[in-house]
Amino acid sequence: MRNVLSPRPAAIAACSLVAAGLGILASDYWVSILVLVGIYAIVATGLNLFMGYTGQTSFGHNAFAAIGGYTTAIMTTAYGWPPVPVAILGAAIAALIAALIGYSVLYLKVRGHYLGMATLGLGLIVVELAIEMERITNGTAGISGVPPIGIGDFEIASSRGMYWLLLVLVPFAIWCAHRIATSRLGRALKAISGDEQAAEALGINASAHILVAFVVSAVFAAAGGSLLVHQLAFVSPEVFGMFFLTLLFTVLYVGGVGTTFGPLIGALVIVLVPEALRGFADFRELIYGIFLIVVVVFVPGGLSSASSWGPALGWFKAYRRSAHSTAANRPSPRQEH
């Protein structure tokens, strides 16, 4: 799929300027909202490798975000470990669990909806464990007082600091995903997404490749989970519950599954639109729901996929044509014949 935004230097420079300007000028409130955009963008970028490029289904990536988040919360509060090594540890644990679960499920050729159900189970189990293992997770009450992220004495204590950090991390995450997508590995993943049997007939071990995509996307999710917990200074099972999961999907599908910038654009839209609708009070959820349906119907491949604007453009052109012919009081070309 072609992107509306191809990574041209001028476009990148313009976006960096806008992002830096927002970091300086936006209010504390809006900066904290934008931090959430960045964190969701990182998790969705990882999930996009698995669901977009590789064409698989996961309803359980909240599990890996939870593993990253809880590792951060537990190790920094109860054991006083420094945040960065803890985040790496969290990602490593998530990768290990993804590898174990993925190996047992993917090598049994569990695919499609069944893979969706299996991963959904994984998400439910991890959230349930977070509730039940009270001694270390503090149950539903969660863990508060998580220290800010930082190295040594240098701490990123404010949302604005986190924003600057994400201004580095989000492009880095997208860059990594883009490099994977455009490599030999990424081509094999896209081939599996297109036709798994045909890919295997060309010597691609599909299960092993899907497993790699699963593990890498779990690392992205765990990193996002750690960042989220630092930002909130708090974690509870609810943070990584169903709301988190649905948000992740809407980000991915509204932004454009299988595109480079889709996850970021999706995160921007999905987080910012409800904020912009705050003034509508009771109607907010309704308008938001209609917005989602409109996007899915008229831009089915997501906002950042050029080809999926077809239906919307066709509709728009048809509208303009009919408006034009009515205004000029002329029969339309079809009627002439």
């Binding site: 994977i180 490599s183 030999r184 081509r187 094999a188 081939a191 045909a198 295997e200 060309l202 010597g203």
Partner: protein, 267 residues
């Protein structure tokens, strides 16, 4: 001899789709498998490629046992197939499709994707170049950047062959390569198959297009109800009474077989 198939059997329920089939495939030659619908041709292909496990028997590629290996390992051993219903990566460009075919001929996983070392970049450039060569060979050179889904049926068939060749197979398996092709497209295909064997690749093919099979095959194996009923050169097979009976039925006899032939000298 490149491939030896030794008393291979596979049943579905009570039906013996292939039953004790044995034959050899000569190196650099074209071997055709023919037989009426349901004779077990595609099952035989699927077993050889690892898409189906055999219930009995052995498949040997140049002396090493490859029976029951998964498809990707059989491909790595040197057997690459095309499909009866073309199976392309529709969302990818023609060049990308062929580059996926070059998966086995190249290296590089996650780390080389992220770090892009010099050898990796060089290998990928080479791969893109040979992919374009492969496309030119099947007459699709000008369409390298088009999406596979935009091709006509005949072009799709040729792309699938280019993709399979990019894997540099020792044995190429073509499952009904001429199905749905026009007469002129069939002739083009014939040329492609000949140039493939001239480059040293052995070919095994299934087809219903008798004129194509008779023209291109060095050896024909005839299956009927899962059993091999005849094996030999086109001349031998054409005159075999059992084949005529099985393949053409009683009433039409050899007339149809001969009528479809385009070479009048043999009539």
């Amino acid at each position: 001899m490149i491939l030896r198939i030794d008393s291979l059997s596979r049943s579905f329920g009570g039906i013996r789709a292939i039953d004790e089939v044995s034959f050899d495939i000569e190196k650099g030659k074209v071997t055709a498998i023919i037989g009426p619908n349901g004779a077990g041709k595609t099952t035989l292909f699927s077993v050889v490629c690892g898409f189906l496990a055999p219930h009995r028997g052995r498949v040997e590629l140049e002396g090493s046992d490859i029976t029951g290996l998964p498809p990707y390992r059989i491909a790595a051993a040197g057997i690459v197939r095309t499909f009866q219903l073309v199976r392309l990566f529709k969302e990818m460009s023609l060049r990308e499709n062929v580059m996926v075919g070059g998966h086995l001929a190249t290296k590089g996983g996650l780390w080389s994707a992220l770090l892009r070392p010099g050898w990796y970049r060089k290998e990928q450039r080479e791969l893109a170049r040979t992919a374009d060569e492969n496309l030119s060979m099947v007459g699709l050179g000008s369409l390298a950047h088009a999406r596979a889904s935009t091709l006509t049926y005949g072009q799709q068939r040729r792309l699938e062959i280019a993709r399979a060749l990019a894997a540099r197979p020792r044995l190429l398996l073509l499952d009904e390569p001429a199905a749905g092709l026009s007469a002129s497209e069939s002739r083009e295909l014939l040329g492609i198959i000949r140039s493939v064997t001239q480059a040293g690749t052995s070919v095994m093919l299934i087809d219903h297009d008798m004129s194509l099979v008779m023209d291109v095959a060095d050896k024909i194996v005839v299956l009927d109800f899962g059993k091999k009923i005849c094996e030999g050169t086109p001349e031998i097979v054409r005159q075999d009474a059992q084949v005529l009976h099985a393949y053409l039925g009683k009433s039409e006899r050899s007339s149809r077989l001969r009528g479809q032939r385009k070479n009048p000298a043999v009539k």
